[in-house]
Symmetry: C2
Subunit: 326 residues, 2 copies
């Protein structure tokens, strides 16, 4: 484990104030080795606070708002916190970059600045979710809304490489669908199924219910469905825990709180932007400062295990996968 | 409440044996008023068993299998249990029809035999799901995989009419999306949003997480996303309850079991095929016999409150809604 890491933290353009996010980042410092540096990227009015909290600081003249059109914003704001963070990541001044800002802008800028791995047509947002066995990597959870079969196939390879990089020797891949038969789903899903069938790791179509039994390590879906999947899981978990907590004696309430942490998206280390040449972690715009801190923790973990280098090698091994026309 | 009802029950073509489904239906009889008749629709080899269990019997020469192409099967099998049930429903010999057979065939046959209400372009499968407040009607949960804006708009009106028929005076409608802003989602969702905005009952876009807070009474979505939504909710609820049950003393395990019932799709009274002129309840092909019995119970409830007549009136009141071109 490499203990030296420089993590760039964009505290601008989310639903939380920069001050709250700076405080959240700083709260991690006591538990981090001194060779891990957290570097805030923000407008100059945040500099005094950031430094007083023990954070590094990179100055950004501009901010891209949550509601801005991503492509227009990127054309106009080359000095935004988002761009500056990604440029430093590209140049090797940072080992990872964390943002809770405009998702569309972050993804487009990451593609432009960092570039994607060979054969990766579109990067995806990947989230790790709990199951009855080990966690499943779900992708895409929101980067691409409407997808062709070739994108779904690419996500399968990306997910396999990701889980191999996490140490799972033979990850199994499922395609999120409304039934297990090959004939189920939209035309693009059926086409993806046909190609994926040739992969030894392919476990076929899988329904939302079965995912949580832990039968697959990678769950492939489009960004719209994946996002709904993620947030539905969060909502229903909260519903169940709320209903239960009324009936539960305090002696076992600790188990409930523990479970709540594991099932709340907010406790997850953000979503990894998977497929670009650099470790980029996206936190929800509405993330609590606590969740944002966990996103940073995730980024530190990714950079400490040289995740991107391993991912790159695994993708090379996955080799010469082909895409169908659709 | 009308205590006289004749419920047609198609016990063919599901993953369960006809004998198991006959037994499940018969298990309801002791708790039903004698004026409620349960009438099995099956091949002749089931007649002796059905009658010995106290069920009525309608003979069907043919069965449509789960894996059959719906349109081909309907063209060839005019004497299938599914067709026969729907024809009796149309002719008023039955008050409701329950099936766990081929979904595509059931929907197509229902449209052909029963017809749809005026302005209803496509019937939808509607499921009632639990929230922190009152249950939400989710449609479509699997009848139509790819939809235009006009179909989503129609589902909003159908959902409103449904909830009004259930006694909710001013149902609120949400559009399932990946963010609350009008700019979120696919092109068809954005177009639907624009038209729905003119409805006073429209609460805007809603995320999977917020649905369970109970802010809306109707959740509009396409059949692919809705099906994933439903099954994800079932899966995560099962995960949470499984993890918890290990830590829970037997004294409060009853609460857990109670909750499990409410959160398991299998405990729901099937999905209502909403929009056709007749009460048709679809149970999952993999429904347990117990869930199938609950589907029948739901159908009895629907017919006892003259649900279809109320729905028809509410749809007329909803009146002259218009569809955008897309």
């Amino acid at each position: 484990v490499k203990l030296k890491a420089r993590i760039g933290i964009d505290v601008m353009g989310s639903d939380n104030s920069p001050a709250d996010l700076l405080a959240a980042a700083a709260s991690l410092l006591p538990s981090l080795p001194s060779a891990v540096e957290l570097i805030a990227i923000a407008t100059s009015d945040q500099e005094t606070l950031a430094k007083s909290l023990g954070l590094g600081f990179l100055f950004a003249r501009e901010v891209i708002g949550m509601e801005e059109n991503p492509l227009l914003a990127l054309r106009r704001k080359k000095n935004s916190s988002l761009y500056i963070g990604l440029r430093h990541l590209k140049e090797g001044n940072l080992d990872a970059f964390v943002s809770a800002g405009n998702t569309g802008a972050l993804i487009s800028a990451a593609k432009m600045v960092l570039g994607a791995f060979p054969k990766i047509l579109r990067p995806a947002l990947l989230a790790l979710m709990p199951t009855k066995k080990r966690p499943v990597a779900v992708l895409d959870v929101g980067a691409n809304l409407e997808l062709k079969a070739k994108h779904l196939i690419q996500f399968a390879h990306l997910g396999i490489a990701y889980q191999k990089a996490r140490g799972i020797e033979h990850p199994r891949v499922g395609l999120l669908n409304i039934g297990s038969e090959a004939s189920k789903g939209t035309a693009e899903i059926r086409l993806a199924y046909k190609t994926l069938q040739t992969l030894p790791s392919f476990a076929g179509n899988i329904e939302g219910k079965a995912v949580f039994d832990g039968e697959v390590d990678v769950l492939v879906t489009d960004g719209f469905t994946g996002n709904v999947f993620l947030k539905t899981a969060e909502g229903i978990a909260s519903l169940v825990l709320d209903r239960l907590s009324a009936h539960i004696p305090s002696t076992i309430r600790a188990h409930l709180d523990d479970l709540r942490k594991h099932l709340h998206y907010a406790e997850y280390p953000g979503a990894l932007l998977c497929g670009v040449k650099g470790t980029v972690v996206k936190c929800h715009g509405y993330s609590t400062p606590q969740a944002f801190a966990n996103g940073i923790r995730g980024a530190i973990e990714f950079s400490s295990i040289h995740f991107i280098e391993i991912l790159k090698k695994e993708l090379e091994k996955e080799g010469s996968f082909a895409y169908p026309e659709s």
